[in-house]
């Protein structure tokens, strides 16, 4: 079921005809998507399909080779203030405390020290890290570090949250906890969220739509409307439609996933 125009309000980001080539390697091509102002779009695909590269193109970290990505009519060519990314590797600076790390984006934007001291505790509290403001990342577990990374992204109050397999490096149980934590936090201030993941369960749980990328070079094969009610809770996992959607995405991906398994990475 293809619906290129999102059902949730006006599009925040418009991606038209976007492709990326590194030298002779074409990573992806002909990507046409829109992301609504208050929707979560999950992106799944086999390893190497360029979904991480695509996310970085959305952030402006990597320029696209063909086509354009635009926000509010302006084309994205470099990192822009309305977007915040949460990284799989957490990306916390080890020499900074939790407080300092969360304040990083604000500090770079030139926010005054007084305002930072006022705002940051709110976000630290939002992700459940109250009491750990003066801890260093090396003292935190993986889940806590990612909470810190999330707080850092939220602190700049972005219009778009770009999640690059944020729970990929976290153990399975903490991962489940954090998925519902993220859903709760996001529902307090719904923005655009682009959620790149390998996990089909995660994509169906988090997303309003699931974009399936596959092929070599990859492109958008299908955009699936998840159609599960919000707020998503543990009960959502037990709904029959959840299993249906999960199987739908899996079968769309299946051939690619099996082929990708035996590819030698460069």
């Amino acid at each position: 079921m293809d619906s290129p125009v999102s059902p949730v309000e006006a599009p925040r980001i418009t991606v038209s005809g976007v492709g990326k080539t590194y030298g002779t390697l074409e990573v992806f091509r002909d990507i046409d998507l829109t992301f609504g102002e208050r929707e979560c779009v999950a992106v799944v695909g086999p390893s190497g399909c360029g979904k991480t590269t695509f996310l970085r193109c959305l952030d402006g970290l990597i320029p696209v080779t063909t086509g354009s990505i635009s926000v509010a009519g302006k084309e994205i060519t470099e990192p822009w203030p309305g977007a915040a990314m949460v990284f799989q590797h957490f990306g916390l600076f080890p020499w900074k405390t939790v407080f300092s790390n969360v304040a990083y984006g604000l500090k770079l934007a030139g926010v005054s020290k007084a305002e930072i001291r006022q705002k940051v505790p709110h976000f630290i509290n939002l992700v459940g890290l109250t009491g750990f403001e003066n801890a260093y990342p090396y003292q935190l577990s993986g889940g806590m570090q990612q909470r810190c990374g999330l707080a850092r992204a939220l602190a700049i109050e972005p219009d778009v949250l770009l999640m690059d397999e944020p729970f990929g490096a976290i153990d399975a149980q903490t991962r489940e906890i954090l998925q519902f934590e993220l859903l709760r936090i996001w529902s307090l201030r719904p923005t655009t969220m682009v959620f790149v993941t390998h996990s089909i369960d995660e994509a169906v749980l988090m997303g309003d739509r699931v974009v399936v990328m596959k092929g070599r070079p990859s492109t958008v094969t299908e955009i699936i409307d998840v159609g599960l009610p919000r707020p998503r809770t543990r009960e959502t996992l037990a709904l029959p439609r959840f299993a249906e959607m999960r199987e739908h995405v899996w079968s769309t991906l299946m051939d690619e996933a099996k082929k990708a398994e035996f590819v030698l990475e460069k």
């Binding site: 990192p79 822009w80 080890p94 009491g131 090396y138 003292q139 577990s141």
Partner: protein, 280 residues
């Protein structure tokens, strides 16, 4: 006192997080100090006995040095010379750190400078500093300037090379995060490249301080202005071996003290560096 397990896994259960690891000298148990003392006494005994049995009478031994140790150490002559050497080392190191860091950062992150300078830095680092002394005395005279130049020459290259290493090893994840949050170039250079290179700087400084001390003393041997090197030479040649030895021991003491200070500094200012390794 054993190092505690400071890894926490559940949010918001306790108040402040655990403090960073304890410095090694506090962690050493009484038995470690006892072992060091016993080792020291054994060395002194061996020295004493060997010299008594095998060496001529005027060779320095602990039984002659110990009585004069404190008086010599606190004598005006010794303190003056010690300060002269120390001051030259401090000045030289200050200059070397600033210049070495700039050099290292430039070499580490700007390909042009790396290609330009690397071979010279590596070569001059390996060159024995004594080789350049005669030339320095011609250019700068038999002065404390020549000693300062020797100290700088001895200490700048290990710092530059260590910082260069550190600057090249900045994990690209940090740079990606910085770019994503729209950092300007000074945020990246100072906030990330320099911060991430600090452990390497500390390692380079450990090397550099040792070499700076050597450079100062060797220069003083050669130039005979003042300082501990001059003191040692003068006293040895006038057969005041015991006084000379006290100066030698003082220099050794400097070196150990500096090592401890650098370790303390690493723990205090860089608690996060290799924290996982230090946790046993």
């Amino acid at each position: 006192m054993s190092t505690q397990d400071i890894r926490v896994t559940a949010p918001a259960r306790s108040g402040a997080p655990a403090p960073p690891a304890v410095p090694h000298w506090r962690r050493m148990t009484r038995s470690a100090w006892f072992a060091k003392a016993v080792g020291g006494i054994a060395i002194l005994l061996a020295w004493e006995l060997l010299v008594r049995w095998l060496a001529p009478n005027y060779v320095a031994k602990p039984s002659n040095i110990l009585p004069v140790f404190i008086p010599t150490l606190t004598s005006e002559a010794m303190l003056e010379q010690a300060w002269a050497t120390l001051w030259a080392v401090i000045q030289g190191l200050a200059i070397s750190i600033v210049a070495g860091v700039v050099l290292g950062l430039a070499m580490g992150r700007v390909k042009f400078f790396d290609r330009l300078l690397r071979i010279y830095v590596t070569g001059l680092y390996a060159m024995p500093m004594t080789a350049i002394l005669p030339l320095l005395t011609i250019w700068l005279g038999y002065s404390s300037g020549a000693r300062l130049a020797t100290v700088i020459f001895a200490s700048i290259f290990p710092i530059a090379m260590s910082v260069c290493d550190g600057a090249r090893s900045v994990p690209h994840e940090y740079l990606e995060v910085a770019r994503s949050y729209r950092a300007r170039w000074h945020h990246i250079w100072l906030g990330i490249t320099l911060a991430s290179s600090l452990p390497y700087l500390f390692a380079g400084m450990k090397l550099a301080v040792g070499r700076a001390l050597i450079g100062a003393v060797v220069a003083e041997f050669f130039i005979s202005i003042d300082g501990l090197g001059f003191y040692i030479l003068f006293n040895t040649r006038t057969f005041h071996h015991n006084a000379a030895f006290v100066a030698v021991i003082l220099l050794a003491g400097f070196a150990v003290a500096v090592d401890w200070v650098m370790d303390w500094g690493t723990l205090k200012f860089l608690p996060w560096y290799r924290a996982a390794e230090r946790r046993q």
